[in-house]
Every structure is written in C-alpha cells, then in structure tokens.
Subunit: 174 residues, 2 copies
DNA sequence: CGTTTCTTTCAGTACAAACTGAATATACAG
DNA sequence: CTGTATATTCAGTTTGTACTGAAAGAAACG
C-alpha cells in the first residue's frame, strides 16, 4: 500500500466524505478506508504518509477506530512498531458501529424522553399535548431499540430471510 | 409556545445535540423539535425569539426542513406571515429523512463502488485484493438498498410483525 | 403604485472541531 | 542504565460550518 491506485484513492476520498456527513471525522474514516483496502497491516507512519496527515492525527484517529473495535494493532516480526489492520467482515463492522452509536445516541435519547414524561407537571401550560408528543416519539425509539435487539440476536443470513418474508407480506397486503 | 417549559427546553436542546452527531445542523434540529412540540403552527419570528437565533437563520433552516418534507408552511386567517408546522407522525418523519439520506448518501456510495469495480485495471498492483474488498462492500450496500426498498413498501404495522417473526426465527435457530 | 410587512440572500464574523508539531511519555535494545 | 525508536498528549493554529445583520426582494395592503 505504498502508492495508491486511482480506484483506491477514490474509495478513500469518498469514504472520508461520507464519514463527515454521518458525524464521523474525515481522517478517521479515511484511515479506516485505507486499512480496509490494505492486504497487510500498516504502521502509523505509513498511514500518515499515504494520507498526508500528521503522525499525531493518525494516532488519535486509530485510537477511535480501536474503541469501536473495527481496527486493531498487530505485531510484525522484526518490527517494533505497531501495525494496524481493519476488520474485513463488512456486516460485522457496521453491526459494531451501529451497536455503539445506539448506545451513545439512541439510548440517551430514550432516557431523556422517559425522564421528560416523568417530569411533566400536569399543571404546566400545554402539558397534555407535550405528553402526547413525547409519548409518540418515545414509542418510536422503543421500537427502534426492539428492532436493534432482534437484529443483534438473529443468526447470520436471517436478515435476508426476513427480507424475503417482507416481500411476501407486501404481496398479500396488496 | 410563547415560553418554554423545562421539559420542552430539555427536548429541544437534546434534539439539537443529536442532530449535530448525525450531520444535521443544530438549529435545524432545534427548530424541528420546537415545531414538533408545538400544538399550533409558528411564525418564523416567534421561532427566532424562542430559540434566540437570528431571523435569517430560521429562514434558512426552515427551508431545509421543508425540502425534507417534514415541515410545511400554513396560513392563518388574519395574519400575513407564514406559519410553520411539523409533521406529527414520527414513523413517517423518519421514513422521509431516511429515504432522502439514502438517496443522497447511500446511492452515490453504491455508484462509486460499482464504478470502482468497473474501472479496476487487473494489471495494477493488488487489483485482486482491491476487487475483493470493493465487492464485499458493494454487496453490503446492495443489501441495505434491498432492505430499504422492502421497508418502504411494507404496509403500516408490518415492521412490528416482522419483529415478532424475527423472535420466532431466533428461538428456532438457537 | 407607493407603502408596509414579511422573507430571502449574502458578505462578513464567530465558533467549534480538526489538525499540526513540539514536547512528553513509553518501550525496547544494547 | 543509556540511548534510540515509537507512541501519545497538548497548546496553539487552521479550517470549515454555522450564524448574524444589513440589504435586497416579494408579497400583500390601501
């Protein structure tokens, strides 16, 4: 992965761009893209050179990817440096990211809604309407959580089975 | 909605914060939260005052919410100003947002992957490995698209049925 | 039409997040 | 231990996005 080919460059740039749109640091996303495409683990310095970013930036970004569990350090014989490699199983990678974003973002939102409903003083202005809206939103988040839990537990390949079932149910329903 | 209650404030602030984490402008998210909680349509000026942001900022943000189709302008008798109201159906709101983010982000990524696979020169360094990685990622995005199409067409309430099915399949499988 | 009310646009500014490079810490070899 | 290679931290800087206020543009009114 000393030099990038055109296709690789495209992929890395696009991935970085996508990252920013989903609240993920551009460099973090680019490093992940680079490692994902690399057939071997890469040392931080090589990553920095390839992407033209500071060595320290790579260090921070790698650490974030590690906390997500989609990149890990491996050791190479006769080299003191850490080498980093990306998980290659795409489904598993997204599952990990989704699981953690749920924990960091969905769960606190659910909690906020629950607390809001509890804290609502029936005497305050428009309490009934506010309760109604909060409850509707809370219901949605409960369902999303349920969906996530299901997915998490489904054996591999079952998602596709469910997709087919969805088709059948849709046909029946008209 | 002249003055905000504590619970309403909490909701609006939290929603704004969530927005930023998902690549959605804080003010846009806050305005949406405010309108979602409001039992009546609000004129831009009132929104600006309530959230302490510039009138022009509200204008821009409202326009974005309108392009997503989750906020619309309505007219109030005896008032020349536009009043804005949010859609109240939570599922439908998220469906709209997801559909459009898919169009703006997932579809172009799918396209990039397809083009990458087509452009890959078999003679360039590591072409086989790159192809393998791109293909794996492309497969994932195809599946996501399929999933999205299914969901889009499912009659209301079917998602919940699928959830229950998932439970059964999981029990059988393990 | 001219006036008033409301909305949008836009150039400039403010702010938050990302990034750098130097300093510091850690790990290893001799 | 000492010296060297590598990794991390952090203060300061850069960059990009969000935001403001003034000005221009529309729309309704008399």
């Amino acid at each position: 992965m000393a030099e990038l080919t055109g296709v690789q460059k495209q992929y890395i740039l696009h991935w970085g761009e996508m990252g920013t749109r989903w609240g993920i640091n551009r460099t973090v996303a680019q490093i992940h893209a680079l490692l994902y495409l690399s057939p071997r683990a890469l040392p931080a310095e090589e990553i920095a050179e390839t992407l033209s970013v500071a060595r320290s930036n790579v260090s921070t970004s790698i650490r974030e990817l590690e906390t997500w569990g989609i990149v890990r350090a491996v050791h190479v014989l006769g080299d003191r440096r850490e080498h980093y490699e990306s998980m290659k199983d795409v489904w598993e990678m997204f599952r990990l990211v989704i699981e953690q974003r749920k924990r960091r973002e969905i769960d606190p939102t659910r909690e906020m809604l629950r607390r809001g409903l509890a804290d609502l003083d029936p005497k305050e202005l428009g309490a009934d309407y506010t309760r109604e809206r909060l409850a509707a939103m809370a219901g949605f988040f409960e369902a999303v959580t349920e969906l996530h839990d299901q997915m998490k537990r489904l054996p591999t390949g079952t998602v596709r089975k469910l997709l087919r079932m969805g088709t059948k149910m849709r046909r029946k329903a008209g």
